[in-house]
């Protein structure tokens, strides 16, 4: 058989953690992509966590003891990235935007992960009419533009009016609904594949109950690819949030700072050549999504042995060195 006998693995659990084990496996260009992704992602995470320490002003602050801030001031001096037409400091709003982004991402991904995995597992294993309905429903929603669905959901949740809680939660829930079908499809497909595997059938011929099969045999094997989907969906959540904000369905500037909304405001500035109000929040989105996607893609490659890269030069060196032995 192709599966060789490996020595019993006695690596510590730290080295088995997803990202750390991937880092050890990688080499060359793949490692470069993974490392730069990790750097960008940690930049985003630390900005979000330390936002109040980094930002010189509040996100809804348009003046201080010395009076109102200047409007549309060019970058420089007190306002390193300039100010907006509303007199907000672009730098502070961009920094606080990371906080909003991370909150929405976590809320949306966790909620959709939980519901999607549960539904996918039960639907895929038990089959029957429940499965059929779920599949048609999930497929219909999946084929639908996620942005439009998010719009409909945010109308439902907040009637389009954004309050402090409503704005952020509405965005998170809207995105959740959009992503449940994706997790559902992935987990269900995986369960359908595993169901035909001999190790599941061998539990069935033993007489194990459906719950036992689902929990001991299917759950861990079916969720193998989830870290990857997690990173990819996190980026989609962020882009959907920004899209909603851009269409004016985001969060009011006074309740939280949101990059998509700021870009919406910056559109008219651009026509008159004011570049700083749009450039920075835009770059913030690009950098965050880029970082997370790089991490996700590299993990995907490393998980798939066929996509993992081995160096032929290295093999050649070893062969020539070892041939005499």
């Amino acid at each position: 058989m192709s599966t060789a006998t490996l020595p019993a693995s006695n690596k510590s659990w730290v080295q088995k953690l997803p990202i750390i084990s991937h880092l050890k496996m990688s080499s060359g260009l793949q490692r470069g992509m993974l490392v730069s992704g990790l750097i960008l992602t940690s930049l985003f995470l630390s900005t979000a966590i330390f936002a109040p320490l980094i930002a010189p002003f509040g996100f809804a602050q348009s003046g201080d003891a010395n009076g109102d801030f200047p409007r549309q001031a060019a970058p420089g001096g007190e306002f390193i990235w300039g100010t907006t037409s509303g007199g907000y400091d672009v730098f502070s709003r961009t920094v606080f935007g990371a906080q909003t982004a991370i909150f929405v991402i976590i809320a949306a991904v966790v909620m959709s992960l939980f519901l999607g995995v549960l539904l996918g597992l039960v639907s895929g294993y038990l089959g029957g009419w429940f499965d059929r309905i779920m599949v048609v429903l999930a497929d219909a929603i999946y084929a639908f533009p996620s942005l439009l669905l998010a719009i409909v959901m945010s109308i439902v949740i907040s009637q389009g009016q954004s309050t402090v809680f409503g704005g952020v939660m509405a965005a998170a829930i809207s995105i959740t609904v959009v992503f449940i079908p994706q997790y559902f499809r992935v987990v269900r497909a995986e369960v359908m594949r595993l169901k035909a595997e001999p190790f599941v059938e061998s539990a069935q011929v033993i007489g194990a109950s459906p719950w036992r099969v689902m929990i001991t045999h299917l759950l861990r094997n079916a969720t193998r690819t989830l870290p990857l989907i997690f990173t990819l969906n996190a980026t989609e959540a962020l882009l959907t949030l920004a899209g909603l904000g851009f269409l004016g369905f985001g969060i009011e500037p006074t309740s939280a700072s949101e990059w998509g909304y700021d870009l919406n405001r910056a559109m008219s500035d651009a026509t008159s050549g004011i570049w700083w109000t749009g450039l920075f929040p835009g770059l913030a989105i690009v950098i965050t999504v880029l970082g997370m996607t790089l991490v996700g893609e590299s993990m995907n490659d490393l998980n798939d042995p066929r996509l993992r890269r081995f160096s032929r030069k290295k093999a050649k060196r070893i062969t020539q060195a070892g041939a005499g032995a």
Binding site: T3, L29, Y142, T271, V289, L290, L294
Partner: protein
């Protein structure tokens, strides 16, 4: 271990010899079954959207809540029938849709179907332009990336593809407008044509609504140049987003087919690497690629809403954003249902195209 020679056969009840091969027939049956599958999809979306939009309130309060007195509101609500039980309203709505009536907008009292005829062509034009850009960029570069897998050309192309995905269309649009419009003055930054050209094109006899086509048909080269100038930036903004997705799609599938044994079989017959990539790997990869590209129509339409808003391109997405701002949810519901139907039909056509390429379905 990489050395394998799996011994023994792997019998499975389903991999048994097929019964007598049936020619023809199969394809037509496939097309019909696939067509019938549209119905539940559209039906579910209409139902979901209807109930979602109605559970929290009626559209009249949402649109005019602040401007009318409670009595006036109640009168308007009664007049429109929104105070009746939800299920009666639902079946009435279904009946309406069945006769091709998607309702009338609240704010400007226009039939939603008229919005389609007036603005649909613009969205179609944008989508065609963007898909052209995406295909021209995505397919060749995806094949290059697959062939040079994990070497520098591939790494660079992949990072570019991720960048294309990571950049929201409206940010890409903002940068394009700033650079090519405001600073370099090369291209116009808003609209589908100059106002004179627009006037000329809309007064044509039986216009298609796709401006470059109309301009070509009327032989008006000046108009054609004007229209093309307007089309470039939106097409690039939306096309690059989709092109990045296509690139990754082509790359992944071509890597899969390049590793297949028939590619090695071709190699063992002395076939060149170029031909192995462009023929043996590309054609079989095309089937999953086309299917997944069909899925991207959803992404494309979502992107079109944002692109149209960014470039003031007066299409369905632009109108949708306008009605959203005006809180006219009847209009929003109508347009959303319309787009759902368009998505379902496009997916059908794409699946049939994919089946046409696959000889296993054709014969």
């Amino acid at each position: 271990m990489t050395i394998t020679s799996p011994p023994g056969q792997v019998p499975s009840p389903l991999a048994a010899p097929k019964p007598a091969k049936q020619k023809g027939g199969g394809f037509l049956r496939y097309v019909i079954t696939r067509f019938l599958l549209i119905i539940p999809t559209v039906f579910i979306l209409i139902t979901v959207v209807f109930f979602l939009m109605r559970v929290t309130g009626d559209p009249i309060t949402a649109a005019l809540g602040g401007r009318l007195t409670p009595d006036q509101l109640a009168a308007r609500i009664h007049e429109a029938g929104y105070d009746r039980p939800l299920f009666i309203q639902y079946f009435e709505y279904l009946g309406q849709i069945f006769t091709g009536n998607l309702g009338r907008t609240l704010t400007d009292n226009t039939a939603v179907t008229d919005i389609l005829t007036t603005y649909g062509a613009a969205t179609l034009e944008l989508a065609i332009n963007a898909v052209l850009v995406a295909l021209i960029v995505g397919i060749p570069l995806g094949l290059v990336a697959a062939k040079f897998r994990d070497r520098y050309p591939d790494a660079i192309l992949r990072v570019l593809a991720i960048l294309a995905y990571a950049t929201p269309v409206f940010f890409a649009g903002l940068l394009l407008k700033l650079i090519f419009g405001v600073w370099l003055h090369w291209l116009p930054i808003a609209g589908r044509a100059g106002w004179q050209t627009e006037l000329q094109l809309t007064t044509l006899q039986a216009p298609t609504g796709i401006y470059w086509l109309d301009a070509l048909r009327s032989g008006n080269m000046e108009a054609f140049v004007n229209v093309t100038q307007h089309a470039i930036l939106p097409a690039i903004a939306l096309g690059l987003l989709t092109g990045g997705v296509f690139l990754r799609l082509v790359r992944t599938n071509a890597i899969g087919t390049l590793g297949r044994e028939y590619v090695e079989a071709g190699r063992s017959r002395g076939v060149s690497e170029f031909r192995l990539t462009t023929k043996h790997a590309y054609r079989p990869a095309l089937i999953p690629i086309i299917t997944v590209m069909g899925m991207q129509i959803a992404l494309l339409l979502g992107g079109a809403v944002l692109t149209e808003t960014t470039f003031e391109w007066k299409g369905l997405g632009f109108k949708l954003a306008e009605y959203l701002t005006a809180r006219d949810f009847v209009a929003v519901q109508g347009i959303v249902v319309l787009l759902a139907i368009i998505v379902a039909f496009t997916n059908f056509i794409v699946d049939v195209l994919a089946a046409l390429i696959d000889p296993r379905v054709r014969y």
